[in-house]
């Protein structure tokens, strides 16, 4: 297993962070929607408390991920992209990173402004980022909701891009974020002596 990134594929650490955040976002969106729907009561309290804990977890993982990205080579985009595709790829990736920070932070600010401190899984109470303010609280609800919708749109582009690379262009863009399979370039070399070794 290769932990670090190479110029052609993502290492195990980047992959783990990527898919862990994917799973957490799925849980997070579910909890957020449940929290919105439920009437006032303990279930709503529980859903929102978990939503906050997972949001803080995503924020921490996003910070680690960005740090790891800076410490590692970033696999290059495929060479056959049109300028617009290149722009879309960079835009969606940058947008996703921005949202991985902005969504938890606006949620944290929202809680702080409401006067409900954020706790991480009932283990640790986090400091309030701002002092109590009804105006800021209501503004943050709008911003948080808008960013969540933006996340949905950008994720749709991101997934559509990955699937297009995999099924239409048949290149390694998706495969290099998956464990087990080495990129085609490496595979053809390795295949000569040991076909099962690399994939």
């Amino acid at each position: 297993m290769i932990f670090r990134n190479t110029p052609v594929r993502w290492g195990a650490v980047s992959q783990l962070l990527h898919w862990l955040i994917v799973a957490l976002i799925a849980v997070q969106v579910t909890l957020g929607l449940i929290g919105l729907e439920l009437p006032l009561g303990m279930e709503k309290l529980a859903a929102l408390a978990r939503h906050k804990s997972i949001g803080i977890t995503i924020l921490a993982l996003a910070a680690i991920r960005l740090l790891w990205r800076w410490m590692n080579p970033t696999p290059a985009l495929p060479g056959n992209l049109l300028p617009i595709e290149r722009f879309l790829a960079r835009f969606t990736h940058a947008g996703l990173y921005v949202l991985l920070f902005a969504l938890p932070l606006t949620g944290w600010i929202m809680s702080s402004a409401r006067g409900f401190p954020v706790s991480w899984f009932n283990l640790m109470q986090l400091p309030n980022l701002v002092s109590k303010s009804g105006t800021l609280y209501h503004a943050m609800i709008e911003v948080h909701a808008t960013l969540a919708i933006a996340l949905g749109l950008i994720l749709a582009l991101h997934i559509a891009g990955a699937l297009k690379h995999h099924f239409v262009l048949k290149d390694d863009t998706l495969r290099r974020m998956l464990p087990g399979c080495a990129p085609a370039a490496d595979r053809s070399v390795a295949a000569a002596d040991s076909p099962r070794k690399s994939c």
């Binding site: 009561g41 529980a46 929102l48 401190p117 954020v118 706790s119 109470q125």
Partner: protein, 193 residues
């Protein structure tokens, strides 16, 4: 607002059944609350985070010489700083202020400690009476030429012992059972008694 509070506190005072025997002994000086400078607050844990609230209207009579302490709290005067949470806490599952508008503590005896007292007595909250011990420090000071008694301390009670948290809220997973009460009271010698 202060005028309203003072009036409410006065109304409550009449409800405090402190026996008139307070004037009996030689140095028996009963004290009453100087409301504007006093606070009665509580803290509990909700979803892992500390939540604070306060009671704005309460009455206190303290008579160290006679061994008496009586407190009445207007349960409708609490404030968590959040209107939504105020509604929930004031409702049937928690304080149920419509049904139980008053909480009261009446000491049965005072035990002298190094810096104050431990008041052993009956706390009635949400219609349930339990014996609790309220520790506090006590000192008198001369503030602006008048004698003021300073009563401060804190104690922790279990909300479920008083039925605060009915139904789903009986669970302590998201709302802790322990509630810390903090009191910092300024008391004046009661006049005319």
């Amino acid at each position: 607002m202060p005028a309203f509070r003072a009036a409410s506190a006065l109304t409550l005072l009449t409800a405090v059944s402190v026996p008139a025997s307070a004037h009996a002994g030689g140095r028996a000086i009963p004290y009453t609350l100087l409301h504007a400078h006093s606070s009665l607050t509580y803290t509990f844990t909700q979803a892992g985070a500390a939540n604070h609230g306060r009671f704005n209207t309460f009455a206190v009579r303290f008579d160290p010489a006679a061994g008496r302490l009586a407190v009445v709290v207007d349960m409708r005067s609490f404030d968590t700083g959040d209107s939504q949470r105020n509604r929930i806490l004031g409702g049937k599952d928690f304080f149920d202020v419509a049904q139980y508008p008053q909480a009261r503590f009446t000491a049965r005896r005072l035990i002298r400690t190094a810096h104050g007292y431990r008041a052993v007595g009956a706390l009635t909250l949400r219609g349930i009476t339990r014996t609790v011990v309220i520790p506090f420090t006590w000192r008198t000071a001369d503030i602006d030429g008048r004698e003021v008694g300073l009563l401060t301390g804190r104690t922790t009670i279990r909300r479920l012992a008083f039925g605060i948290g009915q139904g789903q809220w009986h669970s302590t997973e998201w709302v802790g059972n322990a509630v810390t009460l903090r009191y910092a009271l300024e008391l004046l010698p009661a006049r005319g008694r």
